[in-house]
Symmetry: C2
Amino acid sequence: MTLAPLGEPSLLTDRVYAAIREGIRNGEFPAGSRLRLRDLAAQLGTSPMPVREAIGRLEQNGLVVRVPHRGAVVADLTPVELAHVYATRLLLEVEATRLGCAAVRAPDLAAMRTAYGRMVDAVAAGRVAEALDHDEELLTALYAAGGNPVLVGLVEDLWQRCRAFKLLGADAADSFAPEAGAWSTQRRLLEAVEARDVDAAVAVTRESLESSQRRIRTMLADAEDPR
Amino acid sequence: MTLAPLGEPSLLTDRVYAAIREGIRNGEFPAGSRLRLRDLAAQLGTSPMPVREAIGRLEQNGLVVRVPHRGAVVADLTPVELAHVYATRLLLEVEATRLGCAAVRAPDLAAMRTAYGRMVDAVAAGRVAEALDHDEELLTALYAAGGNPVLVGLVEDLWQRCRAFKLLGADAADSFAPEAGAWSTQRRLLEAVEARDVDAAVAVTRESLESSQRRIRTMLADAEDPR
DNA sequence: GGATCCTAGATGTGATCACATATCAGAAGC
DNA sequence: GCTTCTGATATGTGATCACATCTAGGATCC
């Protein structure tokens, strides 16, 4: 983990926040691992102060849980909680797909195609985390076209919360069926949106979320009971 | 504004956070007003440190906006943003009503009735802010019965963000038509839920949100153009 | 006379320090 | 031998301090 090279967010707190969140996103800090103030501060070359504020903000996002006087750990989701997150994602993302597909314009489509191309490259190179980033980039382009940034913000929030599980599921799907499997839904979504076929796009979104939830649930069950 | 009497949240930061958020909720800090670190600290009898962390967390919730080195102000919503919030609330709360109404049990109904009674009393006494609290309490009881805390959390988040406008709208509705007006939707919702009539409950939720959005939008238009 | 630069005050930001609380190891007691 | 108490250590929490940045007021130059 390291700090971004100063420039965009001039505030040290923001850079620390971004660094820790990125560490959680890419799996460097797995769910359940402790986040020690002085350790992180030393690792980032700052005082504990910005780290404290960053962790406080991460807690509000649901990425870490903090118990008073006992520190913070990266949030972990029980299978039940994960089901709730996915049920809510389904509700929000179906609507976002509907809105986006109805209002999408040329620049949005271009952004989606760009993200898709990068995702394909990343998958081919085996860089799963990066592929997931571009996947989210593609969807964000579509959802943002719908014109409701509040809705998009909530969706992104939920993505953050189940990022670790998305990584897990994508990783497994990739190593299991590199070609035909999970990464094909993006192509089908893109085609449906290009054809302005709202129903088809919604169907892809629904199917994609349900299948990835199934995949993750299976993995969790296997991890519980590795016969 | 004052600190809660120690006990519940033992952390000073949490108490400061609650105090400021409450100040925003009840209109003590109107939208757009500045939140000065040293002022708040002095007012609460603490050092600026907990206030800083509290404001950082409030920013993540979208209740305040902060520009680097220039301080924080209570978040203000443009009419467009307000429309986005209400569109998203409609999506989430219709679903929450559906889930809650289908799964509601006796204790949940009891909680709803208690909250309703308190709300009626508060309305009668002209305590609008308190009435709004009990209104949200009633809805939370229903939504929580649905069994998806993630969904409920997002709804509460959106409530916070448009709290100032809810207050405005409720205040106007109350002074305008104390008896027949806006506070009757809760009774109708309660009746629909007691009858386990999902469609009726959903209809009330939808109608309530649309009418309150209309009411707020009208008020904003009047404020813009007070002929 | 108006615009620009500069200085002084205010204020947010980051660091160091002091304290409270929790965790864990080892010893004493049962 | 196991439990329990008690100390030490680690670590989060809150306060004070030093600095950077922004804003407002006035003087100077065009």
